[in-house]
């Protein structure tokens, strides 16, 4: 057999070709991976190593005007479990149950789920979290979460509002200024090794969160507390279903206090019925009754239809368009001045003047005083009330509306009417927020709401004197609101209450709204009670007004101010059969 001869040169060439082919394949793959498909592989690698964490911002605090916290956020500890890493759910549940105060069976079910995450206790006390950590249970861990607290509990709850479980504003100013209070989340981007440890030299980015702004409110805690206490006493004493008290500065529109009953604790909003959480002073409407007569009077005086000293012949009832309108107590026909008509809250006298005024002008002034319009307070759920167009008025609408029925206002709207009078005829939008503080600590005063002239200063002055007479004259209906050493200008109201959802009336709303000191008004207070017994504002609401106004004047160091000389002769005959402090006979506002 002949020997096979291998040529070294051929072997080398074949080997070289194989090496070249192999190298070309590797090179080609490298070009593909490092060049053409580099983005995809970079992305894949980054996804494995790079982790992004959102840093929640600190929610801004809410303060009263003295910079004491009404709402503040603090870090609590949320206890959670990764059931996939819990080797023995039953044992873990038995260990955790007594600590967390939860049923063992419920915990065991949670820890047995096919899930990577379950909550065990949300926003718990840090001490409890430490106890849980001390158990050293695999698969159980904690994470910090911010929780909202209201240190003054129910104080000003309807104004401050409340938040949900994820710290989103759900009511009140927490809702209105949610974006401002929330701030901007931050971000941490970092590379981690397979064990989860950060790689120091790896890619990283840190964007700090921007804390939310703080709100400084116009509320005065002391006046707020006094208003709430007075409201509770009045509601309990007179068996009312609820009520509202508002305290305002007429010149600036600052709301120093706003109390509602029923109320709730914003620390546990879910434990209170939903209807207790709404701010009735802003959302609920009612027919203001006699407290609205100042609007009719202002319109009549401003339009020169009548003067305060003009004498009117006033019987105790008047028939118009087939309806009879009564004064609130029978009396013989009286010749009294227009000022006395208002001071004694005569329906008949007011209707007679309104007839001279006409529906167009009455509607015009009601609108000027803010009926049917937003007050400008920019509060969630604010109602505009109801003011029908003159075209839609019935024949009885003019007398009805002149005495404050047939129109609907919120408590804040009607208190703002008196604030306008107290402010010399200039309406200022009410406001809750005095200033904000940004994340750098810079204080930014809030812009005051708009102001506009409603009536002439002289008209406001005349009306003020009339209203002082209502609290100072012997037969004024507001004598229970008089404060020793001060002149108080105010008006009582006892209006029929509309039945919700159907025509007709049932029950009464009692009110007293006034301002002091009359010569230099610095405060306006409104008290509205829902269905008290007796129904008279002079008996039920006026004493609460006195209590709150007296405290507020003292607390703010406001002196008596200049004295107004009130014109008004004593009445020739008593208008009513009862005294100012006694039980007074109920009298329907209108009968068919």
């Amino acid at each position: 057999m002949a020997a096979v001869k291998f040529r070294p040169k051929l072997r080398l060439v074949v080997l070289m070709l194989l090496v070249w082919l192999g190298s070309a394949a590797v090179a080609g793959r490298l070009v593909w991976m490092q060049g053409l498909a580099s983005d995809r592989y970079t992305q894949l690698a980054a996804e494995q190593r790079v982790r992004r964490f959102v840093l929640p911002p600190q929610r801004g605090s809410i303060y009263d005007r003295d910079r004491v916290e009404l709402a503040i956020s603090m870090d609590m500890q949320t206890i959670f479990a990764n059931p996939r890493f819990v080797p023995d759910p039953q044992a873990a549940a038995e260990a955790l149950g007594p600590v967390l105060g939860l049923e063992v069976s419920m915990l065991e079910e949670k820890l047995s789920r096919e899930s990577g995450f379950v909550y065990l206790a949300r926003k718990a006390d840090p001490a409890l979290a430490e106890t849980v950590k001390g158990l050293r249970l695999p698969g159980i861990d904690t994470v910090a979460e911010s929780k909202r607290f209201y240190p003054a509990s129910k104080l000003a709850s309807h104004v401050v509002g409340f938040v949900g479980v994820d710290n989103e504003g759900l009511g009140g100013l927490e809702q209105r200024h949610d974006r401002l209070l929330t701030g901007t989340p931050g971000e941490v981007l970092m590379e981690r090794d397979p064990r989860g440890r950060p790689i120091p030299a790896g890619r990283s980015r840190f964007i700090p969160p921007t804390a939310g702004h703080d709100l400084i409110l116009a509320l005065d805690r002391q006046i707020q507390f006094t208003a709430e206490s007075a409201l509770v006493r009045a509601v309990e004493q007179f068996g009312a279903k609820g009520g509202t008290i508002i305290v305002m500065k007429p010149g600036s529109g600052e709301v120093l206090a706003l109390a509602n009953l029923p109320t709730f604790d914003p620390n546990e909003p879910g434990n209170a019925p939903a209807d207790t959480r709404r701010n009735r002073a802003v959302t609920d409407v009612y027919e203001p009754g006699s407290t609205s007569k100042v609007v009719t009077a202002a319109a009549a005086l401003e339009s020169h239809v009548i003067k305060a000293a003009d004498v009117l012949h006033v019987p105790d009832r008047i028939a118009l368009a087939g309806k009879v309108f009564n004064d609130w107590a029978p009396h013989p026909p009286l010749d009294i001045t227009f000022a006395q008509v208002i001071q004694q809250s005569s329906n008949v006298g007011t209707i007679k003047v309104a007839a001279k005024l006409g529906k167009e002008r009455l509607h015009e002034y009601m609108k000027k005083f803010g009926y049917g319009l937003s007050t400008g307070v920019e509060f969630p759920g604010e109602s505009r009330g109801m003011l029908p167009d003159p075209d839609a008025w019935w024949e009885t609408s003019l007398p009805t509306m002149a005495i404050g029925q047939g129109v609907a206002v919120t408590p804040l709207q009607i208190v703002n009417v008196y604030a306008t009078l107290a402010n010399g005829g200039v309406a200022v939008a009410p406001r809750f927020v005095l200033a904000t503080v940004d994340e750098r600590g810079t204080l930014k005063p809030s812009r005051p709401g708009g102001s506009r002239r409603v009536i002439a200063e002289e008209t406001a002055s005349v009306l003020t004197e009339i209203l002082v007479g209502a609290t100072e004259l012997r037969h004024g209906t507001g004598r229970n609101a008089a404060i020793d050493g001060y002149q108080v200008a105010g008006k009582t109201g006892s209006s029929q209450k509309v039945i919700e959802g159907q025509p007709g009336y049932s029950g009464y709303i009692s009110s007293f709204i006034g301002f002091a000191p009359a010569g230099d008004p610095r405060l306006v207070v409104g008290v509205i009670l829902d269905d008290p017994r007796p129904i008279w504002g002079s008996v039920t609401a006026a004493p609460a007004f006195k209590e709150v106004m007296q405290f507020a004047l003292r607390h703010l160091g406001i002196g008596p101010g200049p004295v107004l000389h009130v014109e008004g002769a004593p009445l020739p005959a008593p208008v009513r059969s009862g005294g100012a402090t006694g039980e007074e006979p109920a009298s329907p506002i209108a009968t068919d």
């Binding site: 600190q58 004491v68 916290e69 009404l70 503040i72 956020s73 603090m74 870090d75 607290f149 240190p151 003054a152 509990s153 104080l155 120091p200 030299a201 805690r221 002391q222 707020q224 507390f225 006094t226 206490s229 020793d484 050493g485 001060y486 002149q487 000191p517 010569g519 007296q550 405290f551 003292r554 002196g559 008596p560 101010g561 200049p562 004295v563």
Partner: protein, 139 residues
């Protein structure tokens, strides 16, 4: 069958005899050795320095992280203290403590008209007297 015969070994030329050449430069070094050594040292120092800097930066970032965590803790502690103060200062608590201490809200408030300063408003009782005279009447 023929037997394969090994090929004859090739004849190598004779190895030259080695002799010592006096005065030759036997220990001559390769040119540039010093430069290479120096450069290597410098590079080593630079690399070591870079590594050291990197370690320092990493340590600083850990320290920064620790300090930041401490700041967050202190801020939270500050908020908790503010919360406790606000709770303690709440008007309900103050009123409760005042009532427990026997304090009452005065029913009436009077303004005194002194000889040097006149408070505007309706004269309060006793009217027209100086402050001294009023106070001197007190037990």
């Amino acid at each position: 069958m023929a037997v394969a015969r090994p090929r004859p070994r090739p004849v190598r030329p004779g190895r030259p005899r080695l002799t010592v050449i006096p005065g030759g430069r036997l220990h001559r070094r390769a040119p540039g050795v010093r430069f290479v050594v120096l450069a290597s040292l410098i590079i080593a120092v630079l690399v070591f320095g870079l590594v050291l800097l990197h370690i320092t930066l990493a340590q600083s970032s850990f320290e920064l992280h620790r300090v930041h965590g401490r700041v967050v803790e202190e801020e939270d502690r500050y908020r908790r203290m503010r919360y406790e103060i606000a709770r303690a200062e709440s008007p309900a608590k103050v009123a409760q403590a005042a009532a427990a201490a026997g304090l009452v809200v005065p029913e009436e408030q009077r303004y005194l008209i002194t000889s040097s300063a006149v408070a505007e408003g309706p004269p309060a009782e006793p009217g027209g007297e100086g402050l001294k005279a009023v106070l001197s009447k007190q037990p």
